[in-house]
């Protein structure tokens, strides 16, 4: 099938949207490579098509079988972001991948929520450990002067009246250990989830994204 100017515009429009979507997360040389490959696919399909019943229908069938450009771009995005998180294990990459998965699936959303809570809790313990030597009178495990029961851990400005810090400088090693344990286990759990998600994946042959 030989394309008319209208057909050419339709193909170029498809490739333009694909390129623009890919540019948001892929480096330029990779974008060029992907667009070139998809264009090669389209041109090959177009040459092989007989153009029946007319150019518009034949072209839309070819584009429909390939899938919408945004969906194709999303598929590359899912592959790349999760790959980077699993392979490098960097916290930023893991968070980005979880954000990506969480925005698309219910399971991913729940895991992203759990991981956010884990990281926040872990970092909170670490911050307490770091701040104790800087503000020794304001950071501690606060207990009521009368009952002696501890009821709060953290920083208080000014130091609360009627309460005292019952942990002293022991709070530093304890919070360091607890914080590191929580952050490490959360991170390990998040990577394991992403690794399994990567294997079971998302690039559904139906063109839909599912966990």
């Amino acid at each position: 099938m030989q394309l008319t100017d209208t057909g050419e515009s339709r193909v170029n429009g498809y490739l333009f949207i694909l390129e623009r979507s890919l540019k948001t997360f892929l480096p330029p040389d990779l974008v060029r490579d992907v667009v070139r490959e998809i264009e090669s696919h389209l041109r090959e399909r177009i040459v092989a098509a007989d153009g029946a019943p007319n150019e518009r229908v034949a072209l839309e069938t070819i584009l429909g079988e390939l899938g919408p450009p945004l969906r194709v771009a999303q598929a590359y995005s899912a592959e790349r972001i999760v790959d980077e998180a699993v392979v490098t294990g960097r916290i930023a990459a893991v968070l980005s991948a979880l954000w990506h998965v969480g925005a698309r699936t219910v399971v991913g959303f729940c895991v992203a929520l759990g991981v956010s809570v884990g990281y926040t809790a872990g970092w909170a313990f670490l911050v307490v450990a770091i701040m104790k030597p800087i503000f020794p009178r304001n950071v501690g495990l606060w207990a009521d002067d009368v009952t002696g029961m501890p009821h709060r851990l953290g920083m208080e400005f000014p130091a609360p009246a009627g309460e005292h810090d019952m942990a002293g400088y022991w709070i530093i090693p304890v919070c360091l250990v607890i914080g590191i344990l929580i952050v490490r286990s959360t991170h390990r759990w998040a990577r394991r989830f992403l690794s399994r998600w990567r294997e079971r994946r998302a690039l559904a042959p139906t063109g839909r994204f599912v966990a």
């Binding site: 090669s40 696919h41 041109r43 090959e44 899938g67 598929a75 042959p205 139906t206 063109g207």
Partner: protein, 118 residues
């Protein structure tokens, strides 16, 4: 789980293996891989989803990609199995056959029990 979801999961889980198998006999470009899969299976429902998988398998070092300019009116990107890809494929084939055998034995056992009961 609906029957369609189960079928979809089966397809999804076997797509990497199917793609590696389709280039195991020699290099193929994207559309040729899709056509090969379409000829033998119903795994490809949306063609555009195959290319990101090919990109991932290439990043993982299981496939090697090369552009060929002068073979057709448009350049084609050929994929071939790397040594690591061949090793992974052998492993996947063994796993698949073992898994299929176990499920077949399970089905046979269930059917023979059902026949004996009736």
């Amino acid at each position: 789980m609906s029957h369609e979801t189960w079928q979809e999961q089966l397809r999804r889980g076997s797509l990497d293996l199917a793609i590696l198998l389709s280039v195991s006999s020699g290099p193929r470009y994207g559309l040729a891989i899709i056509q090969h899969l379409e000829a033998f299976t119903d795994l490809v429902v949306t063609e555009g989803t195959i290319y990101p998988i090919l990109a991932r398998l290439t990043r993982d070092g299981l496939l090697d990609a090369t552009w060929v300019e002068d073979e057709a009116p448009h350049p084609r990107k050929y994929y071939r199995l790397t040594r690591a890809g061949a090793r992974r494929l052998e492993h996947m084939k063994r796993e698949w056959r073992a898994f299929a055998d176990k499920i077949t034995r399970l089905i046979d056992a269930a059917e023979s029990t059902a026949h004996a009961t009736h």
